[in-house]
Amino acid sequence: MKRSLLLSLAAVGAVAYPLAAIAADPIRVGYPMILSGPGALFGEPSLKGAQMYVDEVNAKGGVLGRKIELISRDTRGSADEAVRVTRDLILRDDVQFIVGTLTSAEGPAVSPIARENQIVFIAPITKTDQLTAPANLHPYVFRTASTTTIEGRSAAEIVAKWNVKRIGTISPDYAYGQDATKAFIEHLKKIKPDVEIVDQQWPKLGEADYTPFINAQMGKKPEAVFSSLWGGHFVTFAKQAVPLGYFKALNHNFVGAGEAGSIESAKAMGPDYPVGIWSNTYDLFDWPAGPPAHKAYIDRLKAYTKQEYPSSWPITGYISMQFLVEAIRKAGSVESDKVSKALLGLSIDTPIGKQTIRAKDHQANRGQFWGKMKMDPKYPFAVMENVTYIDPAPFMD
């Protein structure tokens, strides 16, 4: 009896000692993200937003008395590489959490690694419904990004208000483009049954020449078009479509999902932007109707990035890290199982308002800003007018 007590005391001592050592260690969070190639345009500012939040938390003494250490790795936009660096982060860097991945190929590829290692994984950008679909859902995967369903349905809500019947779509031919377009069409047909889909174009992801697709679409004479061409793809598309009279033929009844209204795209095109179209963005530096918290966030971001007109992507990293830290605080622990339970139903106040992760599908009610693009003499690029944050809660399944 006495001997076993001694033994267990020794065992406790052996366990307690490294625990004490860990308590002073930072909480290590892995951030696999596209940091090279075309996707870095969004990956880098996302990492910046995450880092800014981490710096803010650390300046206030961290969480549970421990600082947070963000360790980023370049996924180079490939699912294979994302899997490799994630494993590396877990095995070699000994991270306790994974936040990151960008494309709709990377997120679903990394999710099983999180399940296998029982590590909480929060996806800040990946939109494909597949990530949190019932078949793929597990206790450790969460998403603070919007989804293809939310994005497509938000666009349908906008188009339904227009006096148009003949609808066309043009979207990149891969998971994200297909899913968003499908969600758009299904929801539009539901809320406005008299619409007719007259044309669907599917350029490949990264298409360099959209002219044949644009011509083919104009030939079908749609009255309104939905597109999920994103980032530089939208810019290239629009630069080729404007001189062909495409947007004019549509009376600018064009809704560009995929953040065509983000400052990145607006800045790139400058005076060439097809003003009058509708679009969305994750964030915007000028949101007149926004809460004071958003204004304060933008001011901090301007100082942090030393940019007069900061990127719209840091918010993705910022909110995902905010969710993680608040969950750790709520759980009072960094154990995966406790943090994962704490995330279920967790509501936090973010710079863009209250966000909640639903318990049933681990998905945040993350909407986006939508509005009509116009030129403002105050800025050398197009900005959104009548900005609305579309809360997806009413039309999420």
Binding site: S36, G37, P38, A40, L41, E44, D173, Q200, Q201, W202, K204, G206, A208, D209, T211, P212, F213, I214, N215, A216, M218, G219, G231, G232, V235, T236, K239, Q240, P243, L244, G245, E264, S265, K267, A268, M269, G270, P271, D272
Partner: protein, 295 residues
């Protein structure tokens, strides 16, 4: 049956794409024809041309026709960079196995991609089309932008100019001699080293010009180097490596297959191009107008 105006629109669209690519592709083909080096980094020179055009536009400030200065200036700078690369680096590769050339030029792709990223960052950059060509003309019921018309005319003009240079000028005679037998040419007293440098610079000029000319219709982003090299490779393989008119034909075929492939198989048009390349590689590996390699 689609309307004739639509068919015409598709045709013009395809032709525009062809001629954009021809400018860059012919540079690659010329370099291979004379130096016998397959320069993987040709797309990187194209990307450099695009970024430099943006940079020069930025330095010049707003001006309706500054684009032309920017395009030419950028192509000249890229030619200079090409000459330096040839003299300092490529020089050591001649006569080595293809594998080494491939590895080396691939390394150059990575280095130049990083250089561009360090200098210009990852943001998307864009250049407006020159004011003089900002309009469009309706031909057979299709609105054709003037800038596209300019490119469609530029392609054949460039091909003709290069043909005259190679076949009707004293310099061309020496260059053609270098293609046939570089050792004999050297033995006859010609400075083969400088001929190579000159050809590489010319090829680089065309890559830079191609990159600069494309900026009014495309976004300048990291990754455009790899994107274009794939398309340009397809074109020179179809047309025949080292053959100038072959490259021209390859570019035209590439553009039309893509444009009309979209009509027949909306989601697999890119597949038709790859399929065409595969068939040509099997049936006629030296390309439509290429010559069988003898060594």
């Amino acid at each position: 049956m689609p309307e004739p105006s639509f068919i015409f629109g598709q045709f013009v669209g395809g032709l525009t794409a062809s001629m954009f690519l021809f400018v860059t592709a012919v540079g690659l083909s010329l370099i291979f024809g004379v130096l016998r080096v397959l320069n993987f980094a040709h797309g990187s020179l194209y990307m450099l041309g695009a970024y430099l055009a943006w940079q020069i536009m930025n330095w010049l400030g707003p001006g309706p026709e500054h684009f032309w200065l920017a395009a030419l200036g950028s192509a000249v700078v890229v030619a200079g960079i090409g000459a330096a690369i040839e003299r300092l680096l490529f020089r050591h590769l001649y006569g080595r196995e293809e594998l080494y050339q491939l590895l080396f030029t691939y390394a150059l792709v990575l280095v130049l991609a990083d250089v561009c990223k360090i200098v210009w960052g990852t943001q998307q950059l864009s250049v407006s089309r020159p004011l003089s060509l900002s309009g469009g003309t309706t031909i057979f019921g299709t609105l054709v932008p003037h800038y596209n018309l300019f490119i469609i005319v530029l392609g054949p003009a460039l091909a003709l100019a290069l043909w005259l240079l190679l076949h009707r000028s004293p310099a061309g005679r020496i260059i053609r001699a270098a293609v046939l037998d570089r050792e004999m040419l050297g033995a006859l007293g010609a400075n083969v080293g400088w001929i190579y440098t000159g050809m590489f610079a010319l090829g680089a000029f065309l890559a830079g010009l191609g990159g600069a000319l494309v900026t009014p219709v495309k976004t300048i982003v990291p990754g455009m180097d790899v994107e274009v090299i794939v398309e340009v490779f397809i074109i020179v393989v179809i047309g025949g490596l080292g053959s100038m008119w072959g490259t021209f034909l390859g570019a035209v075929v590439f553009g039309q297959v893509l444009a009309f492939g979209i009509l027949l198989m909306p989601r697999f048009s890119i597949f038709s191009v790859f399929a065409l390349m595969a068939i040509i590689l099997i049936v006629r590996p030296w390309g439509l107008l290429g010559r069988r390699l003898t060594r």
